[in-house]
Amino acid sequence: MFIGGSMKLKVKKVQRIDGVRESFYFPAIFSGLRLTVKHFWRNLFGSKDVVTINYPEEKRHVSERWRGRHRLTRRDDGFLSCVACYMCETICPSKCIHIESGEHPDLSVEKYPVVFNIDELRCVFCGLCVEACPKDAIRMDTGIISMAYTSRETFDFTRDLLRDNYDPKAHANPKYGDYDLPSPSSQEEALPNSQGVPAT
């Protein structure tokens, strides 16, 4: 293509090393061989320089701030902290949280989630639900960074499956429902049972 005569082309001069030493390649090859042979022998006896982490067997440290799989926190008495306020469901950009609230027999607990489902396949792990929660009831600090299961259903985590560090692969039958809460007839009868959700 013709470029106007007044325009000056910018040419970058590359510094090249010439001469006999370079043109026969042997000195450069030998200095390269020195390096690779050093690494080879060091790794042949004891793998001193190997930086690979054999992933499924070895896991690297996961930062506490890493947004992994969710978990539902519990109060001191073992009951869920969640009060079913729908904050997380509202803010969730991928609409992966589904909550149904229910009235708890213990009157000191106003509401609790009868259903708390998270579809981990839809989740984008943005962490907005954790920020929105007024009760610190949902966290993403399980350290579970890879969820690889063989069926879609396994990714539907229900309320009790969102226990701390629950791993579906470790169970023969990974899908089980939420436990029913006891339905006491009076407040006095309910109080000792306020640990409604079994902590197993």
Binding site: F24, I29, L33, T36, H39, N43, T52
Partner: protein
């Protein structure tokens, strides 16, 4: 029993047995294991772990099962042929390289002769000229594969392979000329026995690498270029022309190309050992006069194998050290530098022999 022994001692039968033993028990297994070793060793060079996943239950054998996995995979893979390919040539091309690589072992002695029995398939008079003829044949594999694939990249790779191998053959012969002059023969057993002499009493063995140091460097370079391995792997050129001449192949035929490469690698290593590192001769062994024959033979096979293994390792190390030459660099290195150097080597050797002999 005697009849069996008589049948075995028929020259043709004996040669067949030797071929089978040397190729099936030395060349092919070593070449096959090297396909895995290259991956393991390159991993060590690059601070990685290398293949270690293939397993039967808990047993992985540090990656040894990858060999079986690779073999099974290639057998069961579909053998594809592109549309418009030249069928017959396309189908036979992979085996040219393999045959050429295997034929190298016809003249390589694994140990010294016991009486009339030699540990060598045949000790023909032309000797190394036979090797030159055979390595020239291996270029057919690349060229036929490239031209019959009906693919532009494969054709480019085939052309590059042809140009490169023919150019490097020129000074491969010239580099060995010095060896012929020093030992005065092209017969392999003569060259090997010539390296059993010593300089300054019993001080330095007259190995080819000491009598012909420049010839060794040139011949080694030429052989590495002949096997089309890095730094001379422009015919494959995975960064430019995908896989070069064997781009269209799959399954067992692709494996034949791979196996040919590694058998050629073993061939190069054993040729270098035979011609430049005393072959099977163990230096200074003649000082131990009462050595039993069987022990000497075993030690000779071991010495030969160790040197061969070392040069296999060295070629792999070289491949993972040196970046690829551009194709024009390959050609200018061959024609403008190594060819004049090998001519100088021949002339200097001739003058030295004239002066001292």
């Amino acid at each position: 029993m005697e009849i069996i022994l008589e049948i075995i001692m028929i020259p043709a039968v004996l040669a067949t047995i030797k071929i089978l033993v040397i190729i099936l028990m030395f060349a092919m297994p070593l070449g096959t294991v090297l396909t895995l070793m290259e991956r393991k060793w390159s991993a060590m060079i690059q601070d990685r772990v290398g293949p270690n996943r293939a397993n039967i239950g808990k047993f992985t054998g540090h990656g040894a099962l990858h060999l079986a996995a690779d073999g099974l995979k290639s057998i069961f893979k579909e053998d594809t042929m592109p549309k418009g390919a030249d069928g017959f040539l396309y189908l036979i091309a992979p085996f040219f390289g393999l045959i050429a690589g295997v034929a190298t072992f016809a003249i390589i002695p694994l140990a010294g002769p016991i009486g009339d029995f030699t540990f060598q398939v045949t000790d023909i008079e032309p000797g190394l000229l036979f090797i030159f003829a055979i390595t020239s044949l291996s270029v057919y594999g690349a060229v036929l594969a490239g031209s019959s694939s009906n693919s532009k990249f494969a054709l480019l790779g085939g052309t590059r392979a042809a140009a490169q191998m023919i150019s490097y053959e020129v000074f491969m012969g010239l580099a060995l000329m010095g060896i012929f002059m020093v030992y005065g023969t092209t017969r392999v057993s003569g060259i090997v026995d010539g390296q059993n002499e010593y300089w300054f009493g019993n001080l330095i063995p007259m190995w080819g690498v000491f009598t012909q140091p420049l010839g060794f460097l040139l011949f080694f370079t030429a052989l590495v270029a002949e096997t089309k391995r890095a730094p001379f792997d422009a015919p494959e050129g995975e960064s430019e022309i995908v896989a070069g001449y064997f781009l269209e192949y799959s399954g067992m035929r692709w494996s034949a190309f791979m196996l040919a490469e590694y058998v050629a690698l073993v061939g190069v290593a054993s040729l270098i050992t035979t011609l430049f590192f005393g072959g099977y001769h163990i230096p200074w062994l003649h000082l131990w006069e009462s050595a039993p024959q069987w022990l000497v033979t075993i030690m000779q096979v071991i010495k030969f194998s160790i040197f061969t293994l070392f040069f296999c390792w060295f070629q792999i190390q070289l491949r993972w050290t040196v970046p690829k030459f551009r194709f024009d660099q390959t050609m200018s290195l061959g024609w403008k530098k190594l060819l004049p150097l090998s001519l100088v080597n021949v002339i200097v050797t001739a003058f030295v022999i004239l002066a001292f002999a």
